[in-house]
């Protein structure tokens, strides 16, 4: 797991979903021939319309889905490699937790499963709870939490084991303006600590503010990777480039 390897390397990644019903097999394309390199310390945004393959890509990186073709390497380790998983933190689009446990119990549980040493567990839990401003509510069962509070605990569990790579699926969806600002600041702070951040989003304005590079997915294909310097020098900014890429890829299908 050395620095010579990119943080994430996707090589000709293809995912085809097969669903069979009464003997009939239906296939749907998730992503196709997706190749991408995310370097250490980079903030990379994955943009795309609904059904473009953003969540599929993230699940393939995390090992929740298995590729039909191609490979995923994290720090040079072929996923789903346990050593690579210790270096990754994941925030799902809508984090779900065990209703009967309190936030502290949930974090201790995830800490144990992540292999966090017992002596650092307590201070680490308190530190992430403080970061997401949930210390005062951490004793309550999670069934009593609001959506915003669940999102905060979602972030806390993603950062708990101090991972090198943070993968967020639509982290700004449904956040109020204050929440958006906090999320932006958190991503920038994590990046300042040398962390690699990979996230998907619909929000071009937010992606534009924090990312070094952006990949645009259209119908499961990575159409273009754009760097910050490119969109900052373009009149229409990232939004203009995104619209150009999506429209030039042909009419959208309902997927």
């Amino acid at each position: 797991m050395g620095d010579s390897h990119p943080a994430i390397l996707l090589n000709s990644l293809t995912k085809v979903y097969r669903r069979s019903h009464l003997g009939r097999v239906r296939t749907t394309l998730g992503v196709e021939q997706l190749s991408l390199t995310v370097e250490k310390g980079e903030v990379f945004g994955l943009l795309g319309l609904n059904g473009s393959g953003k969540t599929t890509t993230i699940k393939l990186i995390l090992g929740l889905l298995f590729p039909t073709e191609g490979t995923v390497d994290v720090w040079g380790l072929r996923m789903p490699h346990p050593a690579a998983k210790t270096k990754m933190g994941y925030l799902p689009e809508m984090p779900y937790f065990y209703r009967y446990l309190s936030a502290r119990e949930v974090l201790r549980f995830y800490g144990n499963v992540s292999g966090l040493p017992s002596e650092t567990m307590g201070p680490r839990i308190e530190s992430v709870l403080k970061t997401v401003r949930m210390t005062d509510h951490a004793h309550r069962p999670m069934r009593e939490y609001s959506k915003g509070m669940l999102q905060r605990i979602g972030l806390a569990q993603a950062m708990l084991h101090d991972p090198e790579i943070l993968i967020f699926d639509e982290p700004v969806t449904g956040l109020d303006p204050l929440g958006l600002k906090e999320m932006r600041e958190l991503i920038q702070s994590l990046n300042a600590q040398g962390k690699t951040v990979f996230f998907s989003s619909h929000s071009i304005s937010e992606v534009e503010k924090v990312c070094h590079r952006v990949g645009i997915l259209v119908k499961g294909r990575l159409q273009r990777v754009i760097s910050q310097s490119e969109w900052s020098q373009t009149a229409g900014g990232l939004e203009g480039l995104f619209v150009d890429v999506v429209t030039s890829a042909g009419p959208m299908e309902v997927r």
């Binding site: 699940k59 346990p82 984090p95 937790f97 144990n112």
Partner: protein, 255 residues
């Protein structure tokens, strides 16, 4: 190993905080009280009726509790997506299945011990003089519960519906009580195909004949050593086979 024990521990905590589980436990205790009523109707056989009925209710409660526990724990976890945050950590999938199973079985066995205490108290009130057969009967009930729990975990992964999982497990558990009848049927049948079919069923179904202590406790010196050895070995091997199949299914499952 730490992560396996952690999964088992939190499954145990979850179970005891689950309202549905507490309701089942309450009804178990209530039914014990009802056995007093049946005992009163049996006049001079009162203690015998409370004794037999109590053991039957303990077994039924154990089977219902482990069945619903297994189905809701695994299926709910997949449906509620709490599993995402576990499987993106360095946790071998087999550990997840075994940890869940151990936590569940331990929580049910502790409930059965509580029911046993209530039962013995009721019997004591009615002037029952302690019978060591009682202590021998309980471990065989626990072994049955372990087998049914392992079956339920397998069916909850095999099927995507909670109802189907419950029905399949109940069907297997019921047939498991008719091992000698099925053997008789195979012996009497003249068709090679039906003999093969029945013999296959006999092998696949759990054979609770090995664990029916009630059938042999009138024999002096019971339980015979062979029942302990064969019963224990059979239950452990059958549960291990079910869990191995569950792990094989779960390892290939995508989320």
């Amino acid at each position: 190993m730490k992560s396996l024990l952690s999964i088992a521990r939190y499954t145990f905590v979850q179970q005891f905080r689950n309202r549905l589980y507490l309701v089942v436990l309450f009804f178990g205790a209530l039914l014990m009280g009802v056995s007093l009523l049946f005992g009163a109707l049996a006049a001079e056989q009162e203690v015998r009726v409370i004794f037999d009925l109590g053991l039957l209710l303990t077994e039924l409660f154990g089977i219902v509790a482990v069945l619903f526990g297994a189905v809701t724990l695994v299926l709910e976890e997949m449906e509620s997506k709490t599993i995402y945050l576990l499987l993106t950590r360095p946790l071998p999938r087999g550990f997840y299945i075994v940890g869940r199973y151990l936590g569940l079985v331990v929580s049910v066995v502790i409930s059965l011990l509580l029911m046993g205490v209530i039962h013995v108290t009721l019997l004591g009130i009615k002037g029952w003089s302690f019978d060591p057969h009682y202590l021998a009967a309980l471990p065989f009930i626990y072994l049955k519960v372990c087998v049914v729990g392992a079956l339920a975990v397998f069916f909850s992964l095999f099927s995507s519906s909670a109802v189907a999982s419950v029905v399949f497990t109940l069907f297997f558990s019921l047939l498991g009580h008719f091992g000698s009848e099925l053997t008789f049927l195979a012996r009497k049948s003249e068709s090679v195909l039906s003999v093969l079919l029945v013999k296959t069923i006999i092998v696949i179904m759990p054979n609770f004949q090995f664990l029916n202590y009630r059938d042999v406790w009138h024999i002096p010196g019971s339980p015979p050593l062979s029942l302990w050895v064969w019963g224990g070995a059979y239950a452990v091997l059958y549960a291990a086979a079910c869990l191995s199949l569950s792990i094989a299914l779960f390892s290939r499952k995508e989320f």
